[in-house]
């Protein structure tokens, strides 16, 4: 089934209009305030430029972006030593230890400004962080190629080790955005856990994968070129591959030996410790939770909203309903890696030694 792009564009445009008309705050509230936001580039930044920047400017302020991966931005934050190179930052759950172990790097969020918390579950916010989105780490596969090879749709990571798929599978490099979540999930499915990732490395060795991807866009290109028949990737990239014309479907992987089906990776918003504009930063975080903005993000970037209202809206779209898990109960049952238990530095070390040629 092809995506109806026109419908999506119209939907995005309508959302933008809705977003721009629903503004919170008082005119002049942020006169002369410059808010620096650390986020990814590409569609992530564009969504904010489209939807949040005009509202902040209407309140008298200005938003600047510091683009880069959360790892790169974390390095900038640490290197700044006592200064805040930005005022709001997008982080990943994999950075939980760095940010939330001691809270040395961040300051409290003014939750009284978080009026959109009514759409969030309790675990999605506290004084230090607010969930921004989630991705569903899936197996994305080319149904036509699988049919040609006489293979059923995969259900587990081990299904990708079939010799007919040798050199036709890609999985994320541990340094990529979904690297930790997927590596942790593969370890779990192989009988390991956060403290024992060895079984996962054995599975990865047996996969005979073409490469370890570092940017999701590579996966879309490789589905298009016919090099790849299956990929471990977040559902948003699979959706983009479908949009680009590849006959791909998603499968929420069964995490063997556990009751989990599917893998969730979460993004969080935090305010760096030395930010001098925490009020504006808290305002920004609240705007991020606006149902319309969350919906825009989902439509354009293929992430799953944290906001309950947006999730139910997204479920009414047949393509999203088909390619993403949008049942709250099932989302709740997805595997979430506990990074407090994980030594990710050791994971990287073990990974490097295992995959290096």
């Amino acid at each position: 089934m092809k995506l109806k792009r026109t419908g999506l564009i119209l939907k995005s445009a309508a959302l933008s209009v809705g977003i721009l008309t629903a503004s919170s705050g008082v005119a002049g509230q942020f006169d002369g305030v410059t808010l620096r936001v650390a986020t990814w580039g590409g569609s992530w930044k564009e969504n904010m430029v489209q939807a949040i920047v005009p509202k902040f400017e209407a309140l008298g302020g200005k938003i600047e972006f510091v683009t880069g991966s959360p790892q790169a931005n974390l390095a900038k934050l640490i290197a700044a030593r006592g200064k805040a190179p930005f005022d709001v930052m997008e982080t990943l759950d994999a950075q939980e230890k760095e940010f939330f172990g001691t809270n040395e790097l961040i300051q409290k969020i003014d939750l009284s400004q978080l009026t959109n918390k009514e759409y969030l579950d309790d675990w999605q916010y506290n004084d230090w962080r607010v969930a921004s989105w989630s991705t569903q780490e899936v197996i994305c596969y080319n149904r036509e190629k699988f049919a040609e090879l006489g293979l059923p749709a995969p259900t587990t990571y081990k299904d990708l080790a079939n010799e007919k798929l040798a050199g036709r599978v890609v999985i994320p490099d541990i340094t990529s955005g979904g690297g930790f979540a997927n590596f942790g999930a593969i370890a779990y499915a192989a009988g390991g856990n956060e403290q024992n990732v060895g079984p996962g490395l054995e599975v990865i060795k047996n996969l005979n994968s073409l490469k370890f991807w570092s940017r999701g866009g590579e996966v879309v290109t490789q589905f298009e070129s016919g090099d790849v028949y299956a990929a471990v990737v977040h559902a948003g990239w699979c959706l983009r591959a479908r949009k680009a014309g590849s006959p791909v479907d998603t499968v929420q992987p069964v995490i063997t030996g556990t009751s989990h089906v599917g893998v969730g990776k979460y993004g969080w918003l935090v305010i760096p410790k030395h930010s001098k504009v925490p009020e504006a930063a808290s305002w920004f975080i609240n705007e991020y939770q606006e149902p319309e903005f969350q919906m825009l993000y989902a439509v354009k970037s293929g992430v799953v909203p944290t906001n309950r209202k947006s999730i139910s809206q997204l479920a009414s779209d047949p393509i999203f309903a088909e390619m993403l898990e949008l049942d709250p109960a099932k989302i709740g049952n997805q595997l979430k890696i506990d990074y407090q238990k994980a030594d990710t530095s050791d994971w990287i070390d073990q990974w490097n030694r295992s995959v290096s040629q």
Binding site: S69, Q71, A72, L74, A75, I78, A79, E98, L105, G167, R168, D173, I174, T175, S209, L210, K211, F212, W213, S214, S225, G226, D227, S345, I348, N352, R353, V355, S356, Q357
Partner: protein, 284 residues
Amino acid sequence: MKTRWEYVLLPSFLIVGLLIVASQYVFLKGSFFKDLGLGRISDTASMVNYLRFFTDSFYLHTLWVTVKTSGLAALFTLTLGFPVAYLIARMQSKWSMILLAGIVVATFVTIVIKVFGLIIIFSADGLVNQALMGLGIVDTPYTIIGNQTGVVVGLMHFTLGFGVLLLYSVIQTIPRSLEDAAQIHGASRWRMHLRVLFPLSLPGVTVGVLMIFNMCMGAFTSAALLGGGRVFTLPVLIQRTVMMEIKYSMAGTLAAVLLVTVLLINLLSIYLIRRLRSARLVIA
């Protein structure tokens, strides 16, 4: 009054000093301190990172892969580039300038585009694999992604144009009349190349190959894109250590080892070539 032309060197010297020496100093200094996590480093100097590097087979293997892939790429670039450079240098038609201009333009193309071109050509349904499978040479598509062969090919693609230009300028300095003289006195073409062209071009070729080798040792893009996350050269490992592990001291150590290795290989090569030349002079 005598003009002090050496002062012209001062601006360049200052810029190089500031940009290269100062940045290297920061890294070198950092390499002698232990990483404490989150980008913080210990206050006490120690050799712990160097000890780890030279006692850990993973790091030693990475160094070996870096030297091996760079060495092979430099040698293959010489092998492919020398005949091309020779032909262009000795060509007397307008084609020499056209070909030379083509090579110069090719070197302007960014390496990312070049590497993606390679990936497309070598893709499963790409030109090379279709030809190989059509001719019955291979049963399954051959890939250059995720293996050392691919990295060597990528490095060659990166340096070949540059190498041809370097070798062209070396060959241009050798008078054609020497080749003619050797052949008039009965030397075969092969012997002329071996006894006249090779010895005369050796110093220039050595410098050229070393420059290509040095470029390969520091090359990141080809190794990162074609290595597919499996081939770790030192530049790739440095990027991962800085960006992902945020271990600045260990990254500094890797950078220092890379720098010293390149310097040592260069010095050793020059020493050996000098020995070789002086030995040849004695024999002659």
